[in-house]
Symmetry: C2
Subunit: 168 residues, 2 copies
Amino acid sequence: MTPDTHVDAETALDHAPAGHKDDLRLWLRMLSCARLIEAEIRRRLRARFDTTLPRFDFLAQLERAAEGLTPGEISRRMMVTGGNVTGLAARLEEEGLIERRAVREDRRAVTLRLTPQGRREFARQSAAHEEWVAELLGGLSATDRAALLRLLDRTRRGVRAAMSEGGA
Amino acid sequence: MTPDTHVDAETALDHAPAGHKDDLRLWLRMLSCARLIEAEIRRRLRARFDTTLPRFDFLAQLERAAEGLTPGEISRRMMVTGGNVTGLAARLEEEGLIERRAVREDRRAVTLRLTPQGRREFARQSAAHEEWVAELLGGLSATDRAALLRLLDRTRRGVRAAMSEGGA
DNA sequence: AGGAGATAGTTTAGGCTTCAAGTTTTCAAG
DNA sequence: CTTGAAAACTTGAAGCCTAAACTATCTCCT
């Protein structure tokens, strides 16, 4: 009945890959789950606001910074490269959603901030986005949500630890 | 002490967004967790094998199909567009990892399959990939892994259900 | 001051991805 | 047959993303 006993017997003979397959299964499931939700959100952003997830994330960063942010700071917060920020900023500025402003103390730098139009537009998108997520995750019980939140946090910390140990 | 009571009192006045913020938090945490792992795997694929995650996924699909697959079938399994498959296949063929073969019964179609070199190369990559995942997720206890697997499955089913209901 | 090295930002080349339009082939009626 | 719709695949344009090279500015040490 249980193929597990066979697999266990088999892998136990090798030199350690005990839970390796389980970890792989876990990772693939997490990935497919995240991609499923992400793809749906991208679809809806495009369909209803003619925008993209990176643009939305970009505006979200600026929304929380009343004084604006430099490209470098946005790059760090979004965990993308500087060149990427340059391109996104160019398109968002072109659309009138953000504006550039020179920094007095440092002539290399510039701050990006939302225009009034950008602020209005992001408010609309953000409200819809929040509802979409609630709709998609609505099937989960409060207990499951809490448990999942805790486990994901634990996972993330574990991954970071593993990365700073061996991955340097 | 607990801002929660304040938030609850506040949102309870609105017309329903009870757990909306919680759902958003849950989604953002899941996304950051998945992106963290994925980014690390991409980095390592590039650093050690000079390849990318889409290429790796592509080879993985072919590995499991002894008779090869058509671009259309790969497109469906990887959940990407046909044009995307065309481009990936062109580069992988160029590198000698896959080969094209005409389909006897349908002259529109073609099957893609691993070359011997592709099979060898994927075996190397796949073994490393499995170890990386185990390393990154290794911090989790067996109990946590099992719980997480179950919760993610539940989440995915819930999302699919929500998508087929309202999202049509 | 002057110059080495760090930092902020941009540019460039190339890969990934989608959408929309196009080609060739198949299939199903008529 | 033949004609029209559907299917398999490719192409082209545009956006996203990275790594690496480049420009301009700043900082700090002497």
